[in-house]
Every structure is written in structure tokens, then in C-alpha cells.
Amino acid sequence: MEIVVLVKRVPDSEAQVQVKPDGSGVTVEERYGMNFFDSLAVEEALRIKEKFGGRVTAISLGPSQSVEVLRTAIAMGVDDAILLEEEALLGGDEYATARALAAAVKTLPYDLVLCGREAFDDSSGVVGPVVAQFLGIPSVTMVTKVEVEPEQRKVKVEREAEGGRELIEAPLPALLTAQKGLNEPRVPPVMGVVKAMKAQIKKLDLGSLGLGPEEVGQKGAKLEVLRYIEPPKRRAVKYIKGEPPEMVKELIELLKTEAKAL
């Protein structure tokens, strides 16, 4: 099994994020790591490899610091890593990003492409399926169980659907996006860490992806983010005082007028 995993460097879930005063972007505290859902994808890829053999390659698109999440993937056990860090590739929307990622996947043999269900930062959840579109292969999102049948050239998966589950079969190659519950990502062993520290990370530029600068990144984007709006501040807690009958009356009144819940 040749498996490709797409991973993204995102702000840590506890990092402080603030919208810039003019709404043109956000400033993020310097705490980054591998997107949680992507770590599920890496773990699943490694488990499939351990069962059926083959290779796992991780690909990340992002600024040069993204090398860090590729090293984490190598520490976990991934064989190879490719970084797409060229300036022209950055700042794109989901479509442009997926186009570049798909082009990178195409440079490799692949039976299965895995990625997280969404990135923690923009939470669009679109890049995975769009990569599948560019590759012309089927995709299943939010999978919680994967059973590969390499001989039959197919994969059986379970995905969450409104609290229930769907059982789906797809031919290989296919793209799957990982949902929480798929597995428990492993803690990297120290030998993996050593390997990751020494690893040479391959870099692919536009030329080797066979793409032009107008097809990717900001220029290749079809969407434009106009403005970021800060989440509303939580209002102060209001205490209702008095005797219980009056308190209930006031509560109902407030639920109607202020909270508009009734």
C-alpha cells in the first residue's frame, strides 16, 4: 500500500488568537503544531502500513516552519516527507491549495490519500474532497473506521451521520478524511525523534508540480476573505435577586426580552 497523508501546521488549540483592528487578518500566539485531525490520518496510515507493508509519505503546504509538522510525522513513523513552501503557493483558498496538493500527490504512486476532516484554524473541511476531485478519485469524509482490502483494490469505511453511521465501500485509490474516534495517535518514540531530527525534507517547487504561478496560491484563488469579525464578548452574568416568586417572574421576562429564548 502506497499511502499519502496531507498534514497542516495550525495554531495550538490553546494559542491566543486575535482579530487585527482593521479586520484584515488575525494575529496568532507563537504556538503551533500538527492539526489534530491530520494526526489521526497519520496514525491510520501507519497502522495500514504496519498491516500490509508499503510506504507512507506526508505532504504539507505552508510557510517554511511547516517543516516541523513533517518532522512530527516522521517521528511517528512516516517514511518520507514533502514540503510545499514556495511563496507563490501560499495564501490561496481551498481550491488553489487543493490544486497544489493534488499536483504533489500526483508525483507519487498512491493507493490511498488520507487527511484530517478539517484544519483547526479555518475549519472549512473542503481541501480533502477537492484534492480528490483534482485527482479524479472518490472521497469519503469524516471516517471513523477504515478497513483496506488491497487484493480486492477496495476500502470499506464507516462514517458518522447524524449520530448514526454509514458503511461505505470505495474502490482504490480513494481519499479519506479522518474524524475524531478513528484512532488514538501514537506518541513518537525517541528513535523516531532522532530520525526526524536528521531527516532531509524534500521540497517541491512550482516547476516540478507542473503548475503555473497563476494557478496556485493567492493568484489561483477563486475566493477572497473580505473581513474577519471578532467573536462577541460574553456578557456579564446577571444575578436576579429577591423572593423566588418574583425571581421566576423576572427570569421569564428576561428570557423573553433579553435572551429572546422564549
Partner: protein
């Protein structure tokens, strides 16, 4: 001059921090409360291979530089000092002299299994009359044909009651003081080798600390760890700086744990209508704590770097150990104050760090002895 970690060290730091957050931090409170050796965590952690950090790859280690080792000691202690103390004893002092002087067989029997976490090692210095005053060691080793016969009682031995092998400091000539001291390897199951009382401690709980008893323990002549009799203190000198800096790194780890929790608390706890982190006196505490912890870390990394470069650093190592440990006392104190009355509540973490911090004032040498020694090194003979 370059104050940055290398990219590799930075990656190591991040990885071990995440590992500690996932495996150790969630268990710290339970380890402290039960005061039992956390066997499950030990096995799980051992599998990752970190206990070979400072040993060459041929023994299953990674041959890491000392700066990387200090990053590790700080992070693992941030998770749980009780657990860290057992791990560090096993991966540094408890195995070093076997790595340095042991036969291939001893390495196969003790060093490699210890790196894998299948065996647990320790080192025994302290007795009831000797701690920092090593020359007062009363445990004896007497040569008898092809054997050494060890007699004595050791106290305050980290991992002692659960160890599979011990490096024992014993005198071959009590009249020679420090120059009569040597290291001997004694393995579990050797007749006459047993453990006595386990010490109940207020901090560093979960590490099993206690007495080891040697009654006419006969060990083969080759179990003398060293090329020559009477060179023990000289051999100890080879890793004394490393041990001292390591103790500083552990202190910094405890300080970090207390600091991080206090920071979260100060951002959330509301008093007089605002999070307390908005008040100047609380901000001042964080400004001072952060400054002093940073200074401590720079002293630790500098001393570790000097060891890596082969530059003598007795003074710098003592400075790092003392400064970091004293900063630690201050930070755990401030953290409990930031928590207000909750700083005393057993359900919150600050009281645990407050208790744990004390241990490093004596581990690695008391500050009274170290301070006097450092002053003597600076002033010289007058």
C-alpha cells in the same frame, strides 16, 4: 555568540513537551496522592526509549548532547517530579558507572535492560552520618581473594527498595577519607543485599526512597567499577557537573509547572470584577517569575553547553543548580499566593509543587555546602 537552540534541539523540546503533556501530566496528581511507584506509566514511557538519551546508539540510546538532556530533565520534571526522579536516577547516576567501567556482560545484564526500562538502577551515596560529607562514608569493601565483601547501610536511596542493581559507594580504606572511596556493582539476589525502611516524604512522592542494607555481600572482583582502587571520587568528578546542572533543570521543571498553572489561573480567576491578571501586583509577580526562570534556564544551558564543549564548569554548574533551585522555591511560593486560599487546597496543584520544590534544596548537594564551596572557589586560598 548564539543563544538559539539548534533546529534539532527545538524539535526535540517540542516533541518531549507534547509527550509529557499527554502521558505524564494527567497522572501527576494521582502519583502524588498514592505515593506508589507508577509501574504502568514506567512501562509505557520506557517503550519510547528516552531512558537511553545520554548513552550511545549501540546500547539503544541516542547519544544526545547535554543541552538536549537538560531540556528533557526540565520537561519530564514539569510533568511529575516523583516520576522524573525515578527515571533520571535510572538513566543517569544509576547506570553511568556501569556504562563507564562495566564489563560487556554487565552492560548486557544491567545497562541495556535499564535503558529499556526492564530493570531499575540506582546509586547509593548517603548514610546516616554522611550525605554531602562523603568522606564520612562508613560502608566498607574488603578484598577477599577474587571477591569484595561489602558491609554497611545506605539511606535515602532513590529507587532503592525497587532496584534491580545498585552502584554502591564504599570505602576500601577508612583512613584515607575521600581517597578510599570506590564504586561497586551489587545486583538484586546477591546474598546479604536487602532493603529496609521506605521513607514517607512530603514531596517527590511516587519515587520510592529508602534504605539498602549490605551484610557480608560477596561480589566478584570485577564488580569494582573503575580501573584502579581509590579513584572513586575522581570518577564521580567526571559527572558531578552534569548531576548538578541536571538538578537545576529539575528545579526549573517544577517552577514551570507551577508558573503555567498560575498563569492560567490569573487569566481566569475574577476578583473585583476583573481577571486578577489585570492587577499590577499580580502582573509584577509574573514579570519577576518569568525573568528569573529565564535567567535560570540560561545558566543551565550555558553549563550544559560547557560540558558539551569540554570546558571545565564546576563553578557554572553550581551556580546553575543553586540559582534554579532558589528561583523554584520563589515561584512555587508565588504560585500558591496567586491561587489565594485555593493555594492551600489539596484539590489544586500549587500545594503539590510547593512540597516538591523542597527536595531539590538537598538533592545534588545542600545549598549551605555548595554555597560555601563556590565561595571558596571564587576567593581562593586566603
Amino acid at each position: 555568540m548564539d543563544f538559539r537552540l539548534t533546529e534539532e534541539q527545538e524539535f526535540f523540546r517540542k516533541t518531549i513537551a507534547e509527550t509529557v503533556d499527554r502521558l505524564i501530566v494527567p497522572k501527576a496528581e494521582e502519583i502524588d496522592e498514592k505515593d506508589e511507584f507508577p509501574w504502568d506509566l514506567w512501562r509505557e514511557f520506557a517503550k519510547l526509549g528516552y531512558m537511553g538519551l545520554r548513552y550511545p546508539e549501540e546500547y539503544g540510546g541516542m547519544g544526545a548532547d547535554k543541552v538536549t538532556c537538560m531540556i528533557f530533565y526540565e520537561e519530564i520534571t514539569r510533568g511529575s517530579v516523583g516520576f522524573a526522579q525515578s527515571v533520571i536516577m535510572n538513566m543517569l547516576m544509576g547506570t553511568h558507572f556501569i556504562y563507564r567501567f562495566g564489563t560487556d556482560e554487565m552492560k548486557q545484564r544491567c545497562l541495556i535492560p535499564a535503558i529499556r526500562g526492564e530493570k531499575i538502577g540506582t546509586i547509593c551515596f548517603t548514610e546516616d552520618q554522611s550525605g554531602s560529607d562523603l568522606a564520612a562514608t562508613r560502608t566498607t569493601a574488603v578484598r577477599d581473594g577474587d571477591h569484595w565483601v561489602i558491609n554497611g547501610t545506605k539511606q535515602w536511596i532513590t529507587n532503592g527498595p525497587i532496584c534491580d542493581f545498585a552502584t554502591v559507594v564504599a570505602t576500601t580504606d577508612p583512613s584515607k577519607g575521600l581517597k578510599g572511596l570506590n564504586f561497586f556493582l551489587v545486583e538484586k539476589g546477591t546474598p546479604g543485599f536487602s532493603h529496609g525502611q521506605v521513607i514517607k516524604k512530603m514531596g517527590c512522592r511516587g519515587t520510592i526512597t529508602g534504605e539498602l542494607i549490605f551484610e557480608d555481600v560477596r561480589i566478584p572482583a570485577e564488580n569494582l567499577l573503575g580501573e584502579e582502587v581509590g579513584k572513586g571520587v575522581q570518577y564521580l568528578g567526571e559527572i558531578l557537573d552534569e548531576i548538578r546542572v541536571m538538578t537545576g533543570a529539575m528545579a526549573l521543571g517544577i517552577a514551570r509547572a507551577a508558573f503555567d498553572e498560575a498563569l492560567e489561573y490569573a487569566r481566569k480567576r475574577v476578583a473585583f470584577g476583573n481577571p486578577i491578571g489585570r492587577y499590577q501586583l499580580i502582573r509584577a509577580k509574573f514579570a519577576d517569575m518569568a525573568t528569573e526562570m529565564d535567567a535560570a534556564r540560561l545558566l543551565i544551558w550555558r553549563a550544559a553547553w560547557m560540558i558539551d564543549q569540554g570546558i571545565p564548569c564546576t563553578k557554572e554548574a553550581i551556580m546553575a543548580k543553586m540559582f534554579a533551585t532558589e528561583v523554584c522555591q520563589k515561584v512555587v511560593d508565588e504560585a500558591t499566593r496567586i491561587y489565594g486560599a485555593n493555594g492551600m487546597a489539596l484539590e489544586y496543584a500549587p500545594q503539590r509543587h510547593f512540597r516538591d520544590a523542597r527536595f531539590l534544596l538537598y538533592g545534588g548537594g545542600t545549598h549551605e555546602v555548595l554555597r560555601d564551596y563556590l565561595g571558596r572557589l571564587i576567593i581562593g586560598k586566603v
